[in-house]
Subunit: 263 residues, 4 copies
Amino acid sequence: MVDVQSRKDNRKIQINKVGVKGLHYPIVVLDKQNKFQHTIADISLFADLAHNLKGTHMSRFIQIFNRYSADFSMENFLEMLKKIKNTLHAQNSFGEVSFPYFIEKEAPVSKEKSKMNYVCEYIGEVREEKTLFYIGIQVPVTTVCPCSKDISARGAHNQRGIVRVKLCLDKFFWIEDIISLIEKSASSELFTLLKREDEKYITERAFDNPRFVEDLVRDVTQRIEKMGQFPWFSVEAENFESIHNHSAYAYVERGNKNYELAE
Amino acid sequence: MVDVQSRKDNRKIQINKVGVKGLHYPIVVLDKQNKFQHTIADISLFADLAHNLKGTHMSRFIQIFNRYSADFSMENFLEMLKKIKNTLHAQNSFGEVSFPYFIEKEAPVSKEKSKMNYVCEYIGEVREEKTLFYIGIQVPVTTVCPCSKDISARGAHNQRGIVRVKLCLDKFFWIEDIISLIEKSASSELFTLLKREDEKYITERAFDNPRFVEDLVRDVTQRIEKMGQFPWFSVEAENFESIHNHSAYAYVERGNKNYELAE
Amino acid sequence: MVDVQSRKDNRKIQINKVGVKGLHYPIVVLDKQNKFQHTIADISLFADLAHNLKGTHMSRFIQIFNRYSADFSMENFLEMLKKIKNTLHAQNSFGEVSFPYFIEKEAPVSKEKSKMNYVCEYIGEVREEKTLFYIGIQVPVTTVCPCSKDISARGAHNQRGIVRVKLCLDKFFWIEDIISLIEKSASSELFTLLKREDEKYITERAFDNPRFVEDLVRDVTQRIEKMGQFPWFSVEAENFESIHNHSAYAYVERGNKNYELAE
Amino acid sequence: MVDVQSRKDNRKIQINKVGVKGLHYPIVVLDKQNKFQHTIADISLFADLAHNLKGTHMSRFIQIFNRYSADFSMENFLEMLKKIKNTLHAQNSFGEVSFPYFIEKEAPVSKEKSKMNYVCEYIGEVREEKTLFYIGIQVPVTTVCPCSKDISARGAHNQRGIVRVKLCLDKFFWIEDIISLIEKSASSELFTLLKREDEKYITERAFDNPRFVEDLVRDVTQRIEKMGQFPWFSVEAENFESIHNHSAYAYVERGNKNYELAE
């Protein structure tokens, strides 16, 4: 059977990234509390393609991914990207894998347990000369508006917001620790299950800790800088404003984005 | 050229609805303030298909719709459905058309003007024996939680929510009047542009008018019933809870859903 | 602490449905091949609310759901709805739970294995007088256009489509059997991993089996009717047309929608 | 009334971007055929914030935008960003505005007219030292798989795909010309309204012009390079594969991304 993809191409155009996108697949990831966790990922996998080749072999991305899916630690993710690069005779390979990650939390007063959903992301590039690895984490929070509180005779508008961080990895860390750091920076963290005594606690805690999106990205930035272990990172906060039909948004980035991960 | 669609089918299965879905197209609708408004609709158009015909003629839906798109009043929408029914020799035709609708509003204190976005929907069925017509309207609002306010020493959690009504039409009405009715039922209405004096006003107004989703659907229900002109309607309220990562939701329906629109 | 929700309400408006919506949570479901499967659900749970009560107790929905989430069979889903109805002193309870469900499939020629993603849904109502239970299943497929094939000198446009069925349950069945029935009705089924010999097989199989959306809903309808075990069902097919930027769509429903599930 | 935003901040963290996101608003843009076109935009507007200020003044973004919305040419978009920068005493301002743009097209044989939907985007940065301006354009197309065609005895799988280009602007161009260039590079362009004679024409044209995503990005790249007027650009193609439930994807970028727009 002819191999159309391996035919010669004369357009002299090297392709930066080619591969598969929007694949949904079950994976197993590490979990600080329970050792491992079953989840479902949205996966994109790419490699570059030399200017003289007509096409890449898309099925090989899936074959290789499939082998790693049952043990998808950060380490194995990078190993998979190396395998893709070598198998496809590419110079660079790229992967973006996002998945919901659940953590069991205790309500602050009633101590009732329930699971909260955080979206995580691995973003990796294995290049000839270096390896880059970013971890994305999304944490929903509550924010009380400091301006609304100060100018109003009573009450203060508040809303659900989301904080997204992207961390350039140097050495291993637990996602749980970053989530906790972000939740401490908000007016309050969120819970799936709250009884009345918890609702009182959270309402008052949030009212006592008003935060603009500006405050939120600054507090998270300070805390991540203090950890001193990420060569580069970004922090964004988006508030689904309760008094508007659009969002308030803030973004900070710090460090050297092209930090090379040590082998 | 052969007409494959007009071939005979022997499976003896009449098809309830067949046609086009997810068409995006510019339309012009009526506007209480400005006579007409340009907007962009998401359109689905269907007819039934007799058991003995292999396929419908999809291009005819588009041709007919195209002719009506520049003057898409409620009246013309129904006329278009009749035209579809007749042209396709069908017994019934169906249409669902949703579109953003903008209204210029004044901020409550500063009187600054800006436009707010409300999603509207026409849902029509022209059947052999009767015509049904529903109007859907979505209104984003603020809700302050009555429980949180009462049990907490200070503050109260609040959030953006959305109220969706669906109204079975008997005679013409202005969408603007229903939007206003819904906004009066919430803790506060939303605005695109607010200065500080407006923010103070809204924060205090909302705090003074706490509303569960249950209160919201009840208040809107009462006000719609008072209008006495809709043979059937439904009201749903969804709060994007600021203390949870999920929604609180309530739904009420009243009346006779199969009310036949007079010609 | 005051119980605001239990206060009296004087508006005399009974609420049809009130509860939680858009909750994301890990669940475990039955699996024909592997006994059980971990997946992640999008959950809505409601009950009605008597006219004289101000609010429902949202946290109880979560508490009850949480207890059932680790063994979320069809049977336990209904048991959970009964528990919700009783705990909340409601007359009716409602649940909608959708989740991706993965099945390992073999490519038709190479026999390479990979997992395919199907979205499933449980929709249940436990009312005073009866219990209704619907299962929704979504199956992505390929469709080759019979008209395009017949009128063209070569080729035929084809595209990805999706078939959605909703089945009113009388007795237990395996989701896998319905998926297989739908895949046989399309021009071809889809796979996550295909080698070249499989691609040739599927291209030719699909070209030999052209199907309009009308054909697809009729074939699936015939096959489901032949099973003779669903009191009511609906079948819809949507083609993401490769020659248009909108969809072709067809819908059939059959039977008695209000069939009462035996205890 | 206190101005909370103008208070001093001691965290010494300058914020890269802060402002409003996800605003929906009607705008009027230039149109090659009809002089201007009404459409609805999704808008994000940001500026940086000095380390010593607590917050930005979000309402000013809306006020300034509102003034420009009725004449939203590329030129006025940049002028608006300059106005934002100056009004907010910022060093940099940023804007991302995306909107559907409709072009009336004639079917290839029947010459029937209908409108096609293309999503466009303005992305601008006005910095102290330079101005950057990118235009994004998304064009849905058909692609026939060259491998499937060559290895199969009959037929070839094909599907809807989307090509997205991002062009760094040096001098004015018509969006229509880029759309046309992209549509020529695909197996076939799409239409909203096609009669049978058109369907035959397109099926055969597409079958005679098979294109991988790799071919598509290379052909578009060649054609854009030939225009010789964009200092930097990227091209991506995504196929919603008809034989898989995921996409095939390719990406190319060329030139100097930091090209400064002349005043």
